[in-house]
Point group: C2
Chain length 587, copies 2
């Protein structure tokens, strides 16, 4: 086996299911069986359920049994030992098949499968005719024998590798599984055509992101995931090495204090002396001494605990980093420092939030594109965000036309419309927060669950009204009330709003958020106090304002949500390889 | 101010410190002051220490005082209130300067500075003549008045922004600070020419990485940072939300058990009954009752603790993910699942290890490029790793020639040699582990601290001998003893070695490690047992071998170490924006 010579299926079938120019060429191909049918030398045609050739001599139950492993499984469980149909058919599966197998394989390089024609004289067909089986074969490309979907096919003459599948146990044996069903198998689900398409689009989008920022003279910097700068609400995940030793909860206050016991010991000691002095009986002295002993034991125990408590209060100093450390919820603060050195920078990496409620579009671990530019105000960030979104949306049309087409025909026919809506020339409508609230107040025929008034967070329903109904395209809402945005947002002259914006996309809502940062030292100091943060923990951040401060602005793209928007998926878990949500972190 | 029109300095000065074709053009530029000198209308020339014009009317102490803020600071501290020189000079600094300032600024877009000529009639010079001051200016490009380093300069006629610096407090006021000194200021150090150069090279390398894999038909997949699959040695960082409530260490065994106390209570109760029966004196009964009370208190306390202990044992089920979760030490396992669906995949992201000893080349958080290809054996991974290294090394020569030149002239003159050594045609020498050990055993004139024998880990000294002395170029060592590589390495037919390799680079050692994964289900199951891992925790991973298994191989590039190699830095902390090591996680 020489993998260097293997031809990716994409290079053979191309966008049009193959080209006759390849006929006669000898190739090595590999992949996983997606569907098959067998044309026997004499007897039955066995197919995988997706084929166009109907079985000839099988009854309904038999056909079901053969097509659906789950059915086979149920029959087995319900009637153990008594499943003649099963036995008969399993015997069919296991017995040597004589004939020709038409096997559609896919290697993940593109949407389209490649049809392999394999004769039982070349390889035992029963080994390669289960969905999910991996094969590596050599052969000559021929014109397809039957007209239809495939223009060309591979007449295989050598089977170099087979990775068997037990159809009863393999979770993807059934065709057309729901997204919920395959979500349970994050390690397998990219083998389905739909998830594979999403992942290829995702990959192309990552590349386009880098391309866009490089072409616009941004430097990529890798910002830390581990941070010691706290968040306002202290909700970040802790990173620690202490927890394996921390198996005790804080002892609740049960009224027994060391001071109390120590006072009791003094009293008890006195009492024993008194008893001894007064020549009390031995019993009383003995009991009192036992009492003292017990009190001493309690005192020792409490003393130890107090030490422990101290050690634990000092625990973080004994932790790996010698202080509290968290998973980054936002690369923005660190990124500012690099913008104030390299000019224009971006970072592509994950951020982490212990999201309490899964709203179909938030994960505990989400990839984010963060950018920052110096000598820049809000307008600059808005323009850049818009250009970026347009460039990225456009890029997948050229990079993955087949995948976009597949998703829009098979799964979400508005996919293309949404992508097109981002593309036109001209800027996205820009609406100040105040104007947006006014528009919502005027909204006739629509009642919102949350009462609309200046100062509220624009919820999903408000965003939907503005972007989907009122404008029917992406819009930018800017100049938000200061309480709705982070402390480092630049205060506008009205002292009520800050220079911040959101790009609201139809269907998914806010996917991009931007902020012009507060560059004035006295302003940011007072804002830190105002929101109740400890100024000393932001000393390094304030340094950027103390020494050579500049106006700077940037934005963040929630990358996973952008993939949702462009692919049309309704649940963020389906566009992320290994999604992490509360109580759910498989593998 | 319109930042959209700002010209990056790179676009003006280019690689040759400016081009006369730009003369006469009006531009807006911004940046931070790197050095300056002032030509007064009548009196003193004030310079920043880097200028070629010597002060005329200042004595040595005065000159020191002016050039070095720290000196100014020391004088102030040592003789508070009595610093006539200081007062005089601070007065000079603070008093209105009349004349022309020649200010070299840099905006991080390139190595070279841009010289600004600013007259005191346009803007108060004392505001813009401190190192680190940020300025945004408009003016017309002119031919440089004096011949020398600069071909062109900017005759500024408008100052749009100034971000002041207090030279006494700004840590980068002193020229030529050591790497150790600036490491304390990770938020500032990219403003130094050297660190900025490294960060630009780093950025270019990231881009080249994506380009290489995209061109070779790899899909990029973002693998999870949060994982619930444990490591062999359980050394991963824990991710938790429980720690803020876990402020107690495990109570050490102090001999006081609940059972013991309960038995004592029974006895004490009996004893009181006896005392009462035997009409003992009231004192004895009272003391005994006190004793019983104390014992009951202890029992209650212990009972509560036992409950606590139970709750804490169940703690991880109450943690955010409902189970133990860790920071990923290796994206490889998850990546395999995506390779077995998409064919050829890569991931660029951070991995985390609580490294106990800082060896100048290991961090707790390190960015890694991980790749995996199916239908691939070791040879395929070795070839790809080699091609990738060559491509990346070559790319920085074209993407950042100025930065590479700057680092090699200013800092490490062997930088270019090392890059060139990677480039030649032909493959890196390939040496099996066994051959490598034989070569080390034969090494004459070299004694190693670790005794050389088959089975040892090749330490730094061995790697240096092989790559730097014996071959004087990058080498690949392959087929390692199985105990030196992870359990998922494919066992060779000799049953002693596994299909794994390391690319060892001169000066830095192993930067790339590759493995052909064990694809045989029975083999990997037995290996998991052999190394003492719990098979059930790897059930999902074994699934990949159970259903449609294929041969697959991949490699990992320690990206931060690669940057070290290409830039010539000796300490990994200097090539990473915010390095994380034991007891050190600033910001």
């Amino acid at each position: 086996m020489d993998s260097l010579k293997r031809s990716p299926i994409k290079s053979i079938v191309g966008p049009n299911n193959g080209d006759l120019q390849f006929v006669g060429r000898r190739v090595l191909v590999g992949g996983w069986v997606k569907s098959f049918h067998v044309r026997p030398k004499k007897e039955v045609v066995i197919d995988s359920g997706g084929a166009d050739v109907a079985p000839r001599d099988l009854k309904c139950a038999e056909s079901l049994f053969l097509r659906f492993p789950l059915f086979r499984c149920i029959v087995k469980v319900l009637s153990p030992g008594v499943h003649p149909v099963g036995e008969k058919l399993e015997a069919v599966m296991e017995k040597k098949m004589e004939g020709t197998a038409y096997i559609r394989i896919n290697d993940g390089s593109c949407v389209n499968n490649f049809q392999i024609v394999l004769d039982s004289d070349v390889h035992p067909l029963e080994q390669v005719t289960a969905i999910g089986t991996s094969v590596l074969l050599e052969g000559i490309i021929e014109k397809a024998q039957t007209e239809g979907k495939y223009t060309i096919e591979l007449k295989a003459d050598k089977v170099l590798h087979v990775g068997l599948v037990n159809p009863v146990k393999y979770p993807l044996s059934k065709p057309r599984l729901s997204f919920e069903a395959i979500r349970v198998y994050p390690h397998f689900r990219a083998r389905t055509t739909t998830v594979a398409s999403v992942m290829r689009i995702r990959s192309a989008l990552i590349c386009s992101t880098h391309k866009f920022f490089q072409e616009n003279n941004f430097q990529q910097v890798t910002m830390p995931i581990i941070t010691t700068t706290p968040t306002k609400d202290h909700t970040a995940f802790h990173i620690t090495q202490l927890i394996s030793n921390s198996t005790h909860d804080k002892t609740p206050d049960d009224g027994v204090t060391l001071e109390g016991v120590q006072a009791a010991i003094q009293e008890k000691t006195k009492r024993i002396e008194e008893l001894k002095r007064s020549n009390s009986n031995k019993e009383a002295v003995f009991t009192a001494e036992q009492d003292l002993k017990a009190a001493n034991e309690i005192a020792q125990k409490l003393e130890k605990e107090k030490k422990m408590e101290k050690a634990v209060k000092a625990d973080f100093s004994k932790d790996y980093f010698g202080r509290e450390a968290y998973l980054s919820v936002d690369a923005g603060l660190h990124l500012e420092s690099y913008a104030c050195a390299l000019g224009a920078v971006y970072h592509f990496g994950p951020v982490f939030r212990p999201v309490e409620h899964h709203l179909n579009k938030s994960l505990a671990e989400t990839w984010v594109v963060s950018t920052e530019q110096v000598f820049a105000e809000l307008e600059c960030a808005m323009k850049c965000a818009e250009d970026c979104l347009k460039s990225l949306s456009n890029s997948i049309l050229t990079a993955c036309p087949d995948d976009v087409k597949f998703l829009s025909t098979r799964f979400d026919n508005k996919c293309m419309d949404r992508i097109q809506a981002v593309l036109p020339e001209g800027t996205f409508p820009r609406v100040s927060y105040t104007e947006a609230v006014e528009a919502l107040e005027k909204a006739s025929g629509t009642t919102f669950q949350t009462k609309v008034e200046w100062g509220i967070t624009l919820s999903d329903e408000h965003q939907r009204y503005l972007a989907d109904e009122l404008h029917n395209k992406p819009i930018i809402v800017y100049n938000y009330p200061k309480d709705l945005k982070p402390f480092y947002s630049r205060l506008n002259d009205d002292t009520k709003t800050v220079s911040a914006f959101d790009v609201i996309l139809p269907k998914v809502g806010t996917v991009v958020s931007g902020i012009q940062k507060e560059e004035r030292n006295y302003m940011i100091s007072s804002r830190i106090k105002e929101v109740g943060l400890a100024e000393e923990q932001f000393d390094w951040y304030l340094d950027l304002r103390r020494h050579g401060t500049v106006k700077h602005a940037g934005f963040q793209i929630n990358f996973d949500q952008l993939v949702m928007f462009l692919t049309g998926f309704g649940d963020i878990r389906d566009v992320v390889p290994y999604p992490r949500t509360k109580n759910d972190a498989k593998c």
